[in-house]
Symmetry: D3
Subunit: 254 residues, 6 copies
């Protein structure tokens, strides 16, 4: 959104608002039925909706993230976690130059999460408060998901497919649902004797998807989108209103 | 564009084509009349047009680059040259994982250029051939510019305003032309006794623009766009057809 | 354990075995009742037990990790995630110099986990297979925990206190249980509108503990230790026996 | 020059002067007729002349820079741009420790330029004002060049050969002029459809030179040297006299 | 030792004391007769003894350091000097968070020394005063060594073997003394025409030891340990009592 | 010297010789009587003499090194050890591009030594054999020093002053000898209870010198220079003739 403003019109928002949203996604395989940009399309749609509703600043979406574990699937583009963190960190500190010290990373891709957490802790040590929101780990979305679908997987499963149907239906290839479902894993990742193995997606999913996208509907997608939107709006309001003291790191125990 | 394909449909293009386009821009002030995203809008429009016409692969646009020198203007978002280089470098090597060893960075922002050149030299040492194309330094565009306009500045001047009128007319604030022109510099940068000073834009341009956007017209913009498109298409064809031997670094002199 | 061998006696194990265990912990607050070394004591005890039983190589324990979020509590010592990753990565590659390409990080501290995962993915790209085991996220331990205790928190809660009672009872200050429990959080971390905030422990726990350590008993600790030991032994056996093909990354999809 | 002073005699100059000159060059091929040290000889000669005339501080010349693109020619020695920048950056900050906050990089090698610009921007963010002067891009030198020579190339062409004839005639191998000219390029670099290719010198010049050195004369060299000297002296005076306010970065637009 | 305290009990020491000891060693070959952990066992024993006697804070021992030059001997584990420095540096700055600005690195391994010196200089620039003590280069230990033994080598020679006999006799393999002595070098390293060659230990010592461990006795070990202990205690007292002014770097000469 | 050759004449030496000399010094205070460039003047004089006599390749002298500990004395210019190492490392690998795998760093400054050793070990891991020679730690020079002078200090003491008298007499300020001697330290550095403190030179030497330069004579300087030259020539011959097998790292112990 910020990209659509001139510096002059942007100056109005920067002077009024304390919070900036930074949508972050990835360009990576999402099964044979969803587009490579799925994660950043959703992040962008959520962030822009909230920005429209709340007046928050919204940076352009960051389209490429931490996705090396999808690399065997055509078209996945990625950077290392280290480079991703640095890129994100500097975007945040450049926003701070304009007086913004409160940032919400609207994250569309789970592989980015540990890096966004690490960046957030580093930013906080510099008195910049950032927090990563991701829709599919939001408890209220999880609850809705349980009601809507029998199948569970998130990556390219019913829940993500539904989201795309809600925001970019023209990019969903329903004809590939079957192929997606038949090659899908029941869960994302492999656990062995209590340990999560360092595997690539291809090692547990032939199609790149987790579980069955066929349960997805436009209607379900809209409900999910709306539910996530509500959380994100509330988070934005909370951060906008929070007292500086509550955002600053606490002092050492006496 | 790649973001609109599933991995399955992407596999078709990757198998057929040798060249990928990577549009790269910035989010930075472009005077009071042009949007902050100007550079990446143009890069993206050019790259996608060429991809459509030639079948080349086109990565999602990189929206944030090397723009610290615009930082005093509201809304400019940037990363350091070093981080930008690393981000771009790794995007290129991830494309290589899918067999792509020929890349064109379609660059919309001059501040990115030295970094793109440095990355290109580094990539070539790893047998990845990349080249940065930028429309406003293309000799055929420069010639056209001379014919079209009296004023010369590029950044947010007549030529860039015309381009925006051609591709995103709704984002051009014609009401601010006067303000842009009155606060504009005649040239981008400051030279003192033969030396280019390390200045920020604000030190030579109060409005952030160079010269007079009022000469810009939709028609001129279309001509410029078309001229750049032709060059970029030719460059793409040349790179697609080039012999491997001509792209590899030469051996040491005997 | 390796530290107790001469190079000559070590040569026998290196020639026979494919797997090395690397215990990793932290030096950080664990409430008023548990010692700062809790995490590395447990990691070390588990790794050495498994090494004794299976003949696996066991590196000396790494005592300092990613604990900045405990920094307001006296005596917490930490390094940045980036430095931790590099330290661990190079320990792994130095083991590889002696022919070891299979490593289990026996992790005693949750804050290390994202970094160990990142290191494991990087090592795998160099054909070194490593996996991080952590006892308190092992499903069989979680199940046991549910049966043993009513309270849930892991960090310095009943489960960790029980573990210390089993392996280092002399370092557990039972007189401080009450203080620990009264200042404890019900959960580790703070979630707001679906987002995990980037908080330090002191922001949600005055004593540094999560939930009530008073349920802990030596007997419960022994059961937990034994359960974790079984998983880790099985994991070690599996990794020792695994086929090279199953450990190498898969090729690109054709 | 600084290298010839003791700390005690140096203390006199540091107390009186605000500006330090740092000559920077490269060790790289300059055709069959010019020495590998050409760039740093010229940078050093200019900087020392100005220092003598103005009393400015002059650091020892940095002899090795960014020259990998000449690597196929025997004897070229180089470092990466990144390492070069860091080396230069730290030299500048060590001068600052003695109170110097105004630096002129007297650059003899075009390949160093983007890095010197990047360093200058970084230094300025730390309130250290540096500027890179290079003689062959100085407009007054360019004008003189047009009057003196028909041929245009700079690298190892007439203009640079003339400079060497003026300052180090014994190192110019006039017997190799013909070989230089016959293998020379008309321009430095290769442009394709508007894009500057990431080529090494050997790809466009068999001898390593650009255009014809045979036009060079001692007299022309002296004129060029004198012209550059005047610019550099003026630049030094200007920087010495500049108001602090004019050198500090401007504040954010209100 | 710190690892044995809870944060609550640690708070007492941190409030009372200014100095922290950080024992640092390595995991590397020490001949066929001494354990791989020799260096960190000694560092730890010395530091803990001093901490007990003086009340100084003592961090957990760092077991892995700069030992790549021993890499051909089984079981040597190492990190690069650069990573070691960063790990140590951050441990020191985390101690500073608790108010500690005076640190003694109790070093058991010569290969760590240049890095500890470099770290100490860097820390001092941040007003953290650290100093590396190593027992075998302590003049009072050297003098004692001359009286006790005819042979001179330190690494795995008589002096180090004696130390181990004093603190960990069960880990000394006396049956391998002969093999150690026969394959030992007379000195650590190789000098050629005045220059110290960049060799690995294996290039000058087949057994990994320097000179004859057979002179070692428990009694000699105790004397050496006691002598080192006295120095280290004195150093600790001196640092605890030193005036801030004497520890801060001096100002620039006027 | 290399700087005086064209690439064409350089090609002759590169084809014939295996060894390159890289003189390395510093720009740092050397008492009130010696120039700031002392270390690099000596390194350069030695390296060039050997190159003339043996035909070895000789790179341009690196004038700025690791000298932060002299920073309080006017005119000292330095870089961090890390940056110095990287600069040197890349110079070495660029020489390797021309086929040179054997390098002698002719070091004039003790502060560079640990870094040169570290670089040499890193280079060797890439099959590039480098060794650092420094004249004042050469046993044959030390022996001569004992015979020539009563005083002992090296930095700016009799031995270094004598060297300068031999190679650059015009830069020795004999009138400042008395001031140098009166403010001199007896030794370079400060040791406390067996530990070398991380001090700057100013903390132990008011004049910057160690001991009495008044014993220095031109004649003594010539003897020292000649003695060092002999060692360095022998080292160069040895390295030129050494078998590849003797220079490569040894394999792991079987």
């Amino acid at each position: 959104m910020l990209e659509n403003y001139s510096w002059k019109s942007a100056s109005q928002i920067f002077r009024k608002k304390k919070v900036a949203l930074v949508p972050v996604g990835s360009t990576e395989q999402h099964g044979p039925h969803l587009p490579l940009g799925t994660d950043f399309f959703i992040a962008c749609a959520l962030a822009e909706s909230v920005a429209r509703d709340t007046g928050a600043i919204c940076a352009p979406v960051i389209p490429i993230g931490v996705s090396a574990h999808h690399k065997q699937f055509w078209g996945t583009v990625w950077v290392s976690p280290q480079t991703f963190r640095q890129y994100i960190y500097e975007i945040a500190t450049s926003l701070e130059y304009h007086g913004i010290r409160r940032i919400i990373f609207v994250n569309g891709h789970g592989g980015n999460f540990p890096s966004l957490q690490e960046v957030s802790l580093n930013l906080r040590a510099e008195n910049l408060y950032s927090v990563a929101y991701q829709w599919w780990t939001d408890p209220s979305v999880i609850e809705l998901q349980r009601r809507l679908f029998k199948s569970k997987g998130s990556h390219a499963g019913a829940i993500e497919t539904a989201m795309l149907l809600a925001i970019r239906p023209e990019l969903v290839d329903t004809a590939s649902y079957k192929e997606a479902a038949e090659g899908a894993a029941a869960e994302f990742g492999v656990t062995k004797f209590g340990a999560q193995l360092p595997v690539d997606t291809l090692e547990f999913s032939e199609s790149g998807a987790t579980l069955d996208p066929r349960e997805a509907t436009v209607e379900a997608g809209k409900q999910i989108f709306h539910t996530a939107l509500e959380s994100l709006k509330n988070l934005t309001h909370w951060l906008e209103k929070a007292k500086v003291d509550d955002l600053e790191p606490k002092a050492h125990k006496s």
